[in-house]
C-alpha cells in the first residue's frame, strides 16, 4: 500500500542463536489502530524496538511517509514522529511527573511552561494527571498516563503501545480505549501490541500476527473469533481448561478478620480480610497490583506471621506458624515474582526445588541433603510440566519466563498440597504455557485441594475460579459465584471507579483511599 504511514519491508534481526525477526513486512495507515499479535518470544518487542531506534535491523528497510526511516536512537525516532509507551514503564519512581515527562522529550521546554502543557494535554485526552506528584506514589493506571502524555507531547504520527492494558482495571481500559479512539480520529496511527484477544477485537482495525519471528497472517480482528486468532498465534488449537472440580462441603482454609499493618513504607495494610476456602474449590481474588496482594500472600505463606486465631487449616490455628511449618501442614504458596521470590535466579533448578521441599524427609535426612532424590524430584517436575530446559542443573535465570513459571508452579503442585495459594500464576507467560498452568491448578482442585488464585488478569480468574472477590486497598469484597458475574460488576468490585473521575486534583490516590 502506498498510502501507509509506515511500511516495513523485509525486516530481519538475528541474535546469537536465535532469529528474532525474519523478513517481516507490513504497513500501518494513518488513523489506524494496528494490532501486533504474538506469543512471548514471537519477536514483537524486537520489531518495535527497531521502529523506535533501540535496535538496528540486520536487513530490510522502513519507510515513514515516503521517506526512509532508519533511526539510530529513540531521539531520532521521536524526531521522525514515532512515540512509544513501554510495557515495563520507563519511569523514574523518585522523580515527579513533570520531570519524567521532560526526560522523554528531545527538546523539553522549561518546567514553567511544561507543567501547564502536561495539564492541558492530559485534560484534552481524558487522562487526569498532576505534574507535581511523585511517580512512585501513583497507581499503575496513573503511571501509564504519564507515559502516554509523555509520548503525546512529542506530537507523534505513530504511537506504539506495548501491552498497555496488562495492569489496568476494566474501567481504566475503557478510559484508555477512549483516548486511543480519539487519537485515531485525529489521524494518528497506533501500533498496539497485546495478547489479549478480546481487546484487540474491540479496538483494532487490522492485525498482523507474528509467530517465531515471522508474519504468519494479517487479518481484520473484528471479523475473526478470539479462538481463531489464538490458533494463528500459537500455531495449533488451544483447548479451554476443563473444569472437573466441584467444591466440596468441608472447609480447607479459613481466614477470619485478618488485619495486618503494612510490611514496609510503601506497602498496603490488610483490613478485616475473611474468606472460607473449601476442598476442591478455586477462589479467585482480583485487583490491581499494590492493593494488598503481596501482603495477603505473605500472610498466608507465613512470611509475615498473622495475629493469633486468624488463619485456620482444617480447624487448626496456623496463624503463628512460620513458612516451613505451614508447608509441612500442607499450605503451599507461589509468589508473584518468579526470579528472586519463587526462585533464586543463580541457583540450579534442583537447588530451587530443594528450597520448597526441604521439609520433606525424603530430600533432607538429619540435616543432610539427598541430592539424587532432590534431582529426581526436579526432573519429575520438568517432565510433568513440559519445562523446556537442558536439564535440572540449569540456572533458574536461564529459563524463559513461561518455562520458569511452569517449573515453580509445578514444583508446588506435585507436592499435592491441601491448600495452594498463587499470586499472578501466568504473569508474562505465553498462551500455551498459561493454559498448562491453569489446567494444572484445576486438576489440583479436582483432586480435592483448595486453591486460591490471586491475579490481575480477570479473564484468567473467570476461567479458573468458582467464586470471585476483589481486593482493594487491602480490603476483600465478599465472594460471588463467577457463573453469574459480568465484567462491569467485577470492575465495581475492584473499586476501579475511584480513579475514573476527570481531573480532580489530589483526590484519586489509592493511599488516601486507604486511610479514608
Amino acid at each position: 500500500m502506498t498510502d501507509d504511514l509506515l511500511t516495513l519491508d523485509g525486516l530481519t534481526k538475528a541474535y546469537p542463536g536465535v532469529v528474532a525477526n525474519r523478513d517481516v513486512s507490513f504497513g500501518i495507515a494513518p488513523g489506524e489502530v494496528h494490532a501486533l499479535l504474538g506469543e512471548n518470544g514471537a519477536g514483537k518487542s524486537t520489531l518495535v524496538k527497531m521502529i523506535f531506534g533501540l535496535v538496528t535491523p540486520d536487513k530490510g528497510r522502513m519507510t515513514l511517509s515516503g521517506k526512509p526511516h532508519a533511526p539510530n536512537s529513540p531521539e531520532a525516532a521521536r524526531a521522525a514522529g514515532v512515540g512509544m509507551v513501554f510495557q515495563h514503564f520507563s519511569l523514574f519512581d523518585a522523580l515527579d511527573v513533570a520531570e519524567n515527562v521532560s526526560l522523554g522529550m528531545s527538546d523539553p521546554p522549561p518546567r514553567a511552561t511544561l507543567a501547564p502543557r502536561i495539564a492541558e494535554v492530559s485534560r484534552a485526552y481524558g487522562l487526569p494527571l498532576e505534574p507535581n506528584r511523585t511517580v512512585g506514589d501513583l497507581s499503575a493506571g496513573e503511571r501509564q498516563r504519564v507515559e502516554i502524555v509523555r509520548a503525546l507531547l512529542g506530537k507523534p504520527r505513530l504511537l506504539i503501545m506495548d501491552e498497555p492494558t496488562s495492569v489496568l482495571t476494566p474501567q481504566e481500559v475503557e478510559l484508555l480505549f477512549g483516548t486511543l479512539r480519539q487519537l485515531r480520529s485525529e489521524g494518528v496511527a497506533i501500533l498496539y501490541i497485546s495478547h489479549k484477544l478480546e481487546e484487540i477485537r474491540a479496538l483494532c482495525d487490522r492485525a498482523t500476527i507474528l509467530r517465531d519471528g515471522e508474519v504468519v497472517a494479517t487479518c481484520r480482528p473484528s471479523q475473526e473469533t478470539a479462538g481463531r486468532l489464538a490458533e494463528l498465534m500459537v500455531g495449533r488449537k488451544l483447548d479451554a481448561p476443563a473444569r472437573a472440580g466441584r467444591a466440596l462441603d468441608s472447609l480447607a482454609l479459613m481466614v477470619r478478620d485478618l488485619s495486618l499493618p503494612p510490611a514496609h513504607a510503601f506497602g498496603t495494610p490488610l483490613t478485616n480480610v475473611s474468606l472460607r476456602l473449601h476442598e476442591g474449590e478455586v477462589l479467585g481474588i482480583g485487583g490491581v497490583a499494590g492493593n494488598g496482594q503481596d501482603e495477603l500472600l505473605a500472610a498466608l505463606s507465613g512470611e509475615i506471621l498473622a495475629p493469633e486465631a486468624t488463619l485456620f487449616l482444617g480447624g487448626r490455628d496456623i496463624s503463628r506458624l512460620g513458612p516451613d511449618a505451614r508447608r509441612r501442614a500442607g499450605v503451599l504458596t507461589g509468589p508473584e515474582e518468579r526470579l528472586g521470590h519463587a526462585a533464586a535466579p543463580d541457583m540450579s533448578l534442583t537447588e530451587n526445588a530443594l528450597l520448597s521441599v526441604s521439609y520433606d524427609p525424603a530430600m533432607v535426612k538429619r540435616g543432610l541433603i539427598d541430592w539424587s532424590a532432590t534431582r529426581a524430584f526436579a526432573e519429575s517436575v520438568i517432565a510433568r510440566f513440559d519445562v523446556r530446559t537442558p536439564g535440572p542443573d540449569t540456572a533458574a535465570r536461564a529459563l524463559s519466563g513461561g518455562n520458569l513459571q511452569k517449573y515453580v508452579m509445578g514444583r508446588e503442585i506435585v507436592q499435592n498440597p491441601m491448600v495452594l495459594v498463587v499470586n499472578q500464576p501466568t504473569w508474562g507467560v505465553d498462551a500455551a504455557a498459561a493454559a498448562v498452568i491453569r489446567q494444572a491448578l484445576l486438576d489440583l482442585a479436582a483432586q480435592g485441594a483448595g486453591v486460591i488464585v490471586i491475579s490481575q488478569d480477570l479473564d484468567e480468574l473467570m476461567e479458573v475460579s468458582d467464586r470471585f472477590a476483589g481486593l482493594t486497598n487491602g480490603r476483600l469484597s465478599s465472594f460471588r459465584s463467577t457463573s453469574d458475574l459480568s465484567v462491569e460488576e467485577i470492575g465495581l468490585m475492584l473499586g476501579g471507579a475511584h480513579d475514573m473521575a476527570p481531573a480532580d486534583p489530589g483526590l484519586p490516590s489509592r493511599k488516601k483511599g486507604a486511610t479514608a
Binding site: L54, P74, F86, F89, S90, F92, A94, L95, P108
Partner: protein, 309 residues
C-alpha cells in the same frame, strides 16, 4: 582544664580548613552515586591526588598547577575504575576496594622523593575589608582560595543536580538505568563523566591535604579521609547541602576535640578521638531517620548496567 585558651575564631577558621578535603571528596562521590555508581576508591583517588598535586606544585612552584595535576591524577585513576566496571562489568564494590589499595601503593611509590619537603604556600584570597571584620574576618574571611572554591562547588553541584536538565538526566540514570536507556539516554557515557568528575574532586581534596592542611607529603596521609567522605554521602542522604553540613560537622568536632585535648580535658583521649565519628554519624542519622523518598538512595546504585536491547 583551661577553656579560655580555646579561641572561637580560631576554631572556626581551622574547622573550615580541616573540612575542605572531606567536602571536596564527598561532593565528588555524591555526583558519582547520584549517577548510580558506587565507587569505594575515594581513599585511593584522594591520596593519588595528594601526591600528584604535591609533586607538581613542588616542581613548578605553583599551587594552582598542583591542584590541576591532582584533579588529573584522581580522574585518571577513576577512569581505571570506570573501564573495569562500565565496560568490563566488574563488580563495583570489589573494584573500588582494589582501587583504594592500588592508589595507596601507587602514591607511596610516586612520593618517594618528596618526603620532608615543604610545598609552596597556597595564596590567601584577599577579601579586602571583609577580612578586617571582628571575629568573622579571622574565622571566615581569611582563608586560601580553595576553601571558597569548595563552597562555590557545593552550591554549583546543588544547583546542577536539582535545577538543570543535565542534573535531571544524571539522576534519572542513577534512578533507573534501564528506563533511561529505553528513553535514549547515554547511560554509560554519563556514568563515565560522573566517575571522572568524582575522581577529579577526590584528587582535589587529597591535594588540599598535602598542600594546605598539613602541608607536606607523608605516606598514607589521607588516613581514612576517603572513607569518611563516603560515609558522609550516605548519611547526608545524597544531598549536597547535607554533605556540606556533614563535612563541616566532622571537621568541626575534630578541631574542637584537638583543642580540648590541648587544653587538658578530663575526658580520656580515646573518647575525644572517637567523638567526630560518633557525633557526625549520630546527627546525620537522626536527620535522615524520617523515611521518605527524598532521602532514599538512588535506586540503581551499585547495580551493573548492560544494554540488552
Amino acid at each position: 582544664m583551661d577553656l579560655s585558651s580555646i579561641s572561637p575564631a580560631l576554631v572556626v577558621a581551622s574547622l573550615m580548613v580541616a573540612s575542605t578535603p572531606l567536602l571536596l571528596a564527598a561532593l565528588g562521590e555524591l555526583v558519582v552515586e547520584k549517577a548510580g555508581v558506587l565507587n569505594l576508591g575515594v581513599e585511593g583517588m584522594m591520596i593519588t591526588g595528594a601526591i600528584c598535586g604535591f609533586a607538581i606544585a613542588v616542581e613548578t612552584g605553583s599551587p594552582p598547577l598542583g591542584f590541576l595535576a591532582a584533579m588529573a591524577g584522581g580522574a585518571a585513576l577513576s577512569m581505571v575504575f570506570a573501564v573495569l566496571t562500565l565496560v568490563l562489568l566488574a563488580n563495583q564494590v570489589a573494584t573500588g576496594l582494589a582501587l583504594t589499595l592500588f592508589g595507596l601503593g601507587l602514591s607511596s611509590m610516586l612520593g618517594q622523593g618528596y618526603v620532608g619537603i615543604k610545598p609552596p604556600a597556597t595564596a590567601r584570597l584577599d577579601l579586602g575589608p571583609l577580612s578586617d571584620l571582628p571575629f568573622l574576618g579571622r574565622a571566615v574571611f581569611s582563608h586560601d582560595w580553595m576553601v571558597y572554591v569548595s563552597l562555590g562547588l557545593t552550591v554549583a553541584i546543588w544547583y546542577v543536580l536539582t535545577r538543570t536538565r543535565a542534573g535531571l538526566t544524571l539522576r534519572a540514570v542513577g534512578e533507573n538505568h534501564d528506563a533511561a536507556h529505553a528513553l535514549g539516554l547515554k547511560v554509560v557515557a554519563i556514568r563515565f563523566a560522573a566517575i571522572g568528575f568524582g575522581g577529579a574532586m577526590a584528587g582535589l581534596g587529597g591535594a588540599y591535604l598535602s598542600l594546605v592542611r598539613v602541608p607536606q607529603w607523608t605516606e598514607g596521609m589521607t588516613a581514612g579521609a576517603g572513607w569518611i567522605a563516603l560515609a558522609i554521602v550516605v548519611f547526608a542522604s545524597w544531598r549536597a547541602d547535607r554533605v556540606l553540613l556533614g563535612a563541616y560537622l566532622f571537621g568541626g568536632v575534630t578541631v574542637l576535640q584537638l583543642n580540648l585535648q590541648a587544653a587538658g580535658s578530663a575526658l580520656p583521649v580515646e573518647y575525644l578521638s572517637m567523638s567526630p565519628y560518633v557525633i557526625t554519624i549520630l546527627v546525620l542519622v537522626i536527620m535522615s531517620a524520617r523515611r521518605s523518598r527524598a532521602t532514599a538512595a538512588p535506586a540503581s546504585l551499585g547495580k551493573p548496567f548492560h544494554a540488552t536491547a
